[in-house]
Subunit: 471 residues, 2 copies
Amino acid sequence: MIRAETKPDDVHGMLASKGIVTSRGGRTSHAALVARQFGKPAVVGVMALDVDPEKREATIKRSSVVLREGDWVSIDGTTGEVFLGQVETMQPSLQEPALIELLGWADRVRRLGVWANADYPRDAERARSLGAEGIGLCRTEHMFFETERLPLVQTLILSRSEEERTEVLRKLLPLQRGDFEGLFRAMEGLPVTIRLIDPPLHEFLPAHDPLLKEVTELQTRLELRTGDIPAETRALESKRTMLDAVERLREMNPMLGLRGVRLGIHMPGLVRMQVRAIFEAACNCAEAGIEVYPKIMIPLVTHVDELRREQKSLEEEAKKVMGERNRKIRYKFGTMIEIPRAAITADEIASLAQFFSFGTNDLTQTTFGISRDDAETSFLAEYLTQGILPENPFDHLDEPGVGKLMEIAVKLGRKARPGLDIGICGEHGGDPKSIAFCHRLGLDYVSCSPFRVPVARLAAAHAALRGRPTA
Amino acid sequence: MIRAETKPDDVHGMLASKGIVTSRGGRTSHAALVARQFGKPAVVGVMALDVDPEKREATIKRSSVVLREGDWVSIDGTTGEVFLGQVETMQPSLQEPALIELLGWADRVRRLGVWANADYPRDAERARSLGAEGIGLCRTEHMFFETERLPLVQTLILSRSEEERTEVLRKLLPLQRGDFEGLFRAMEGLPVTIRLIDPPLHEFLPAHDPLLKEVTELQTRLELRTGDIPAETRALESKRTMLDAVERLREMNPMLGLRGVRLGIHMPGLVRMQVRAIFEAACNCAEAGIEVYPKIMIPLVTHVDELRREQKSLEEEAKKVMGERNRKIRYKFGTMIEIPRAAITADEIASLAQFFSFGTNDLTQTTFGISRDDAETSFLAEYLTQGILPENPFDHLDEPGVGKLMEIAVKLGRKARPGLDIGICGEHGGDPKSIAFCHRLGLDYVSCSPFRVPVARLAAAHAALRGRPTA
């Protein structure tokens, strides 16, 4: 799959592809993150490529080479190389006896748990087969992008009628319940950390600029009175309604906007439905004799009072479901630590949260004041080339800055709640250097994409060995 | 002046107005910030108002009241009330002998210095007359929005020719030099803190959406082949060039993008010109027998290596000017502390920076992960209404979060550089509650808009008195 860049609604195309190439974006672009999650090789930010999705072709700039749909291209996601034609490849096997033995040794010495980020049962199964001991991050919003669900979510966002919203939530509930049942079955009693909806709402709506173009074009045509006027008038009206909604939800800095727990507080019905789905799924599994252990994770908390509001109301819903079903489920409510203020006030936050998970992608963005969407193709790239930053803080945890905040959070959190579970679920959870730091910090586990689990097991063992006194 | 919201190019209209009303935006919107700076009363976020700038009128929603250009409206910026017609008012005098005596008592007990944020000589003069002991923040970008300068700045941004850029900088130099000379003359040897260019480049270019609309409309007209085709083709071409440039510079999250020191490193000629202008102006004043004390402030530093690159190259330029003019000027290079990472690594930063100034607007945004552009009219307003946050952190410094980071920065900074000058130049510098906190933190000064200087003098005295042992 070759694209200028990918968006959440390309996920199905990405799933169907063998590998992904984009002409824009960096290591933490949507394409790179999702490819890693799906275990697809990807080369992103190939700036020499001019991609024309309309013509279904891509041109290599300053050359006569044109790639057309169906042409063979081979890619190496590790080195970032793209080859014309079909290069001979081989499938690495993770079932080699020697590798299994080595990983067994690693498991005996490591102290860090190794969990996986998985949104679908198939990812969870793969993660377990590679040795994951739990799910550290299930991103529930991915489930909302599926073809039959997106229109429901859009209705939920756009509707001004309480009845209509209730109706949509009633339709979404069994779908979400099915998602979670699949995850619980795949994990059989291992912890499954489910993050409640996180992204800004506009991500579920059509993109703004093409819509503005369409509306302007229709308007101009109507003013010039050409073509089928009644049909164009109707089209204009419906497009304009959508444009108004998109503009109402548009934010100057969406990364710092109406997301995470803020969204949960703003649209309480949606997250309450999610919690109901989690506990109904858990009760269904328990009734079928399958052990379950959901950990419900509230994202983007900044102030303990957000958690006070949100966790209380959600725990009530959980208890309601367990009461209806007359079942007791083992569970925890916790939060992500991904905003500097949450790290600094971690003692207050741990008075309510039963676990912490560091979201180091966002924590790096806010601690540095850098938007990775913009920076990796502009000044951050310049900084790395010029040696102003020693390394990309999105690749390796920045120990003096972000790491210091994590240290403060671990100390304050465990002071307020001794034995507090603490993990990490950002991209850094799969980076050996960052894993070594997490070991030294005394975290309980790292969570990474399923394909990185074996690497993380080895890295965790290395970290533990390095800490041992030498003879 | 009544507007839906204001933008930097409305500044001249705002200067000419007696008071400002907007239908959108909150306490830290552009309208509110600039009005405070200019000492104009303002009421922002009057959502009941429908403003139609084309018709030059504003309608009060769900009523028949229409305000037309020239109609009388009276406003109370403290209570946020808007009155139809001309209400009787009186001008408060800051020259009352009783007030002068009271402020004199305050000055004798306060320990905090009181400086002012001032971009123009007239603001600096006003600030001094109200008792300011220095300028804590001169925002140099405001100077670039002036009518004759904006086209130059746009050429600078858009040009791909080194010669053209050099030519623009040559034209901007005497204008900037004049700006700084005026400030130095007004302050007569008191410290003048000049912040090098800070905002993202797109703020100097036309807004994206209207441009996209214009291009689409022209394109549609041309496709339908109506009107004056050669003229429309030319118009389309020039608009499209500008649109391409705007899109190239557009960022997903401009608040976390190519700004501050990042911009200085990206376009080194521009900030070097600013430093040259500062030192040429300083030498001119010194030659005229006027004492000067410039403090050059590098904004948005995240990592000490940014400062290492930037400060070194700028200090070389400063020394070059002093060499050319054979003058020694007293000066300091320092930085803003407005990003969490800068606060946490303040010891490294203080190894180079000779002063710190807390930019608590941005520090609050990054510490909370909140964009004030978006939040104050959406979830932050909800949070305050529902009591989820005890108060607006943009009004009063958030002591447990942002304040904690400031405390860390003060401690680390002074450990690395004993006696380090530390001030604050965010909006909080004019808020009595925040001033009391700054006193307890041991800052050297607060800097606020000129009209808040008397209030800050009193608040600083209150803070000092509260700290005294009672008899």
